[in-house]
């Protein structure tokens, strides 16, 4: 993992939540420490936004997925990346900005088959002694104040880290669950200028802005139905969100287990409910999955699961935005 980060071709593919500065600030920070490419793709756009390799040459050396660990969209993306030939062998870092409960860690571990997870915020370090933690909400990744950001990196590079051989085992364990600095994933020597501030490297490299029609969820029919009780619209939205989160876990698991009968039923459940909420993207992809699973076609199911997961992730994001709106 560290070798992959330290090689001369440091090129990161970052999946980040929409409307979140963490992705952009990490992008800047990675370029500050010598990454030649730091491409940000909105987590909600999933693999649909990924565009292959460059003349057969791998375009990235590492994948970093910010957020989505509690709702499992992060590990689902990671798992799906394993099916992309250009990305299949890359190390993947899952990053959470909040502690991830142990039960969820176990689920993520199973999803990822214990492979290549090197970052999660943890509440129970003894099960994850080899993992580090990055917190994208750390001020050092903020781009609101560029000077502070750069100073933060310089400071942290100069600070002894948990990898120091002089640290005791107890101290190492204490560090689990705390923030890891950018220098941990890409240790380089940074030299501040005379004023003690690193120059900001211009963003000369392309970063993708993916546009997808915002058609996953129109809350207006729901609000109309619930006009007499506005709070109930959010209760219904919470119900479908819970179903979606379970489905994000269940679909890939059932597909990989070959349990297509259960997969068809699970897709049917989401299909019926999502359509009634105007989430036609999820409605259509889950209908396709339901039919593929019912027909027993494993290869079609694989494609349909990926499409359904991608649309469900977008739906969850829309719902989360809906929750933030006043009643």
């Amino acid at each position: 993992m560290v070798d992959a980060l330290n090689n001369n071709e440091r090129r990161a593919l970052i999946f980040a939540p929409a409307n979140d500065q963490a992705g952009q600030s990490l992008q800047i920070a990675l370029q500050q420490v010598g990454f030649s490419v730091a491409l940000v793709i909105q987590l909600s756009h999933g693999l649909g936004a990924f565009r292959g390799d460059r003349a057969g040459e791998p375009l990235y050396s590492i994948v970093i997925i910010l957020g989505g660990q509690s709702g499992l969209s992060g590990p689902i993306i990671a798992q799906a990346l394993r099916g992309v030939p250009e990305l299949a062998e890359l190390p993947i870092i899952l990053v959470s900005d909040t502690p991830v409960p142990l039960a969820r860690c176990v689920v993520i571990s199973r999803l990822m088959d214990n492979a290549d997870i090197c970052a999660l915020a943890l509440q129970e370090p003894k099960h994850w002694q080899s993992v580090g933690v990055i917190r994208p909400d750390s001020p050092r990744y903020s781009i609101n104040n560029t000077t502070s950001t750069v100073n933060g990196i310089v400071t942290e590079v100069d600070t002894p880290r948990k990898s120091s051989p002089t640290q005791s085992q107890e101290t190492k364990e204490d560090n689990l669950g705390k923030a890891t600095e950018i220098s941990d994933i890409a240790p380089v020597s940074l030299s501040p200028n005379r004023s003690g501030v690193l120059p900001v490297i211009p963003m000369s490299l392309p970063h993708t802005v993916v546009t997808t029609p915002d058609e996953e969820f129109d809350p207006n029919p729901l609000l109309k139905i619930c006009a007499r009780s506005p709070g109930s619209a959010k209760e219904i939205a919470a119900l479908i969100r819970g179903d979606l989160v379970r489905a994000l876990n269940d679909f890939p698991r059932l597909q990989s287990n070959g349990d297509l009968t259960a997969l068809s039923k699970a897709a049917h459940k989401i299909h019926g409910a999502s359509g009634s909420l105007g989430a036609m993207g999820v409605y259509n992809t889950c209908l396709t999955l339901e039919k593929a699973a019912a027909s027993g076609n494993h290869s079609e199911c694989q494609v349909a699961v990926n499409a359904a997961v991608s649309s469900m992730l977008r739906f969850v994001q829309r719902l989360d935005r809906f929750f933030l709106t006043p009643n």
Binding site: L222, I225, S232, E235, H271, G272, A273, S276, L277
Partner: protein, 136 residues
């Protein structure tokens, strides 16, 4: 008007409840067996339902079987023909076999999901239910 909504999917139940609650009291059943129990209890207490909404694909007893069971129970209580409860199927199943089976087993209406408020109101309007007409 008393309404029994039967669907194992809470999201669909809640949406239907939101649409129908202006017209009466909605009660929810999560499956066919629970619906049969609630329906029978209501008849025994002489406070029957006026409308039953039934999903078809449910884990315990499917909607077709539940529909047949409700009509059998009504027959046992001496309730026949138009005196019976109005039953509206609300389902994702859009195949002709499912639709004809439902009507053969004496449902009054059939709605294919996704649930559309206008469609539900139109279907219920066609059931010529007095309490609905009064409110409409």
């Amino acid at each position: 008007m008393r309404i029994l909504i039967t669907d194992d999917d809470q999201v669909c139940s809640q949406i239907l409840s939101g649409i129908l609650s202006p017209y009466g009291t909605c009660q929810l059943a999560e499956g066919g067996e629970q619906a049969i129990r609630m329906f029978t209890n209501a008849l025994v207490r002489k406070n029957p339902y006026d409308l039953v909404c039934l999903d078809i694909l449910m884990p315990d007893m499917d909607g077709h079987a539940t529909l047949s069971c409700i009509r059998s129970i009504e027959a046992g209580f001496g309730i026949m023909g138009s005196a019976g409860v109005r039953i509206l199927m609300v389902t994702t199943r859009d195949d002709p076999e499912s639709i004809t089976t439902a009507f053969r087993r004496q449902c009054e209406g059939y709605i294919i999901k996704p649930i559309d408020e206008d469609q539900v109101k139109k279907q219920i309007g066609q059931l010529r239910m007095k309490s609905f007409d009064e409110i409409k």
